[in-house]
């Protein structure tokens, strides 16, 4: 389904998100102070996860070129930017990632990479464990369930075992262990058409099950609500769950999650340098709007701070229940 079709489907249910925010908050939905630069360096991926909003996979061609990466590095050096968040696809499949990590690490900011870890079991990419460790890069990985079958259902056969194997190796290096400063976070998102539970409840179970069952450890767990876009939208529609799922998101609207929505504090950069309010908007082709410069080549933090955020009804996914972001829950449950 192309982006226009997706937008037409998600906007066909419920009141427009921006209207709801305006009514609840008596204000436009605007960004606050940007402190995070999220960079999508590759839509190419070794996996084709069934929930992937990027619709990443081995057939994708979009890779951020070196000139755009250099502009990202310049931007990341701005004093206002505190967090550099690298995502994909599989970021490791960008041939310039190693260079970028080494250069970005010198900025001495919080540097994180979203890796599926399965790719590190491939000897062509296993060196990235050294690269991440030497740059003290925070690693965020997806592990939708602590049961082998359930996790593989979403990410593909054999992925759970490989992820566990790599986490063991990372644990040996000190990742995910208290006191080392080497952060390894896990992302949980539901394997189906339902909302995630409260983050602390799930985190407790993950710690117990992964320690007892596999002897592995992690720093924190983030719960992320699946966004009704990309492959997950295909699943919702083909399984007859779309209307119920959207109604659940809309019904669970939590106005306190609006204030803490991640798009208020970040921008997302696409492979070609286009600026978006978040990675989800990026996959829907919704670039920053309302007269804000929309390419990394003319990045202007003053104009981006306080910009009106571009929304569609998938945004209800970030304000439902405890809220959802790339850093997990954002609010107390309503």
């Amino acid at each position: 389904m192309d982006t226009q079709e997706q937008l037409s489907v998600i906007n066909g249910i419920g009141r427009p998100f921006a209207e709801r925010v305006k009514e609840e908050k008596n204000a436009l939905f605007v960004a606050d102070r940007i402190n995070t630069l999220q960079i999508n360096v590759s839509r190419l991926c070794n996996l084709s996860c069934r929930h992937c909003h990027v619709q990443a996979g081995p057939d994708r061609k979009e890779i951020m070129p070196i000139d755009i990466l250099k502009k990202c590095l310049e931007t990341a050096a701005l004093p206002e930017i505190e967090v550099i968040d690298i995502t994909g696809g599989a970021p490791e499949m960008n041939p310039y990632l190693e260079w970028f990590i080494s250069a970005a690490a010198k900025l001495k900011k919080r540097l994180m990479v979203r890796s599926n870890l399965v790719i590190l079991a491939d000897e062509r990419y296993s060196r990235f464990m050294d690269v991440y460790q030497s740059g003290r890069v925070e690693i965020v990985t997806s592990l939708p369930a602590y049961e082998h079958e359930k996790s593989d259902k979403q990410r593909g056969k054999g992925t759970f075992g490989k992820t566990v194997e790599i986490i063991k190796e990372l644990n040996k290096r000190g990742y995910g262990l208290e006191g080392t400063g080497l952060i390894l976070d896990i992302v949980h998102n539901p394997v189906g058409a339902y909302m995630p539970a409260q983050q602390d409840v799930i985190e407790h179970e993950y710690r117990k099950k992964l320690k007892e069952g596999h002897g592995i450890f992690f720093s924190s767990l983030f719960t992320i609500t699946n966004m009704p876009i990309g492959r997950y939208l295909d699943f919702l529609l083909s399984s007859g769950n779309f209307e119920d799922y959207m109604s659940e998101l809309i019904k669970s609207f939590n106005k306190s999650a609006v204030d803490s929505a991640m798009c208020r504090f970040m921008v997302s950069i696409g492979w070609d340098g286009t600026i978006y309010d978040c990675d989800f908007n990026q996959m829907l082709g919704l670039r920053v709007d309302h007269g804000t410069p929309d390419n990394i080549r003319n990045f202007d933090i003053k104009k981006l701070n306080g910009r009106i955020i571009t929304t569609a009804n998938h945004c209800y996914g970030c304000t439902a229940g405890s809220g959802s972001s790339c850093q997990g829950a954002t609010a107390e449950n309503a």
Partner: protein
């Protein structure tokens, strides 16, 4: 019959205090504190609620607590085990009541 059990009616549960507000508010307070974490975890309580929902044939509760259990990360096997506890209890309750029947039989028969 279809009119009695519409999926969207589950959303109306929040409005059951529309009349007799005082009792409605007290019920929700009680419901909230009974189903949230106490000495028993939220997971344990959700499984109990699921078992009760199935034994009482309540489609709304079955819908709500199946989703809750999935969200919490309970497995299909764990959920089905809880349903079996409910089923076994129902069978046991039925059979235990046969004591009354057997007592009457023994009293009446020559």
């Amino acid at each position: 019959m279809a009119d009695y059990y519409e999926k969207k009616d589950l959303e109306d549960f929040a409005n059951i205090g529309e009349y007799a507000k005082d009792q409605g508010e007290k019920f929700f307070q009680y419901y909230g504190s009974s189903t949230s974490q106490g000495n028993l975890s939220e997971r344990e309580k959700s499984l109990i609620a699921l078992a009760v929902a199935t034994t009482q044939n309540c489609p709304y509760c079955i819908d709500a607590y199946t989703n809750k259990c999935l969200s919490i990360g309970l497995t299909s096997d764990e959920m089905m085990e809880a349903v079996h506890v409910g089923a076994a209890m129902m069978a046991g309750v039925t059979l235990a009541h046969s004591t009354q029947m057997r007592k009457i039989i023994k009293k009446k028969e020559l």
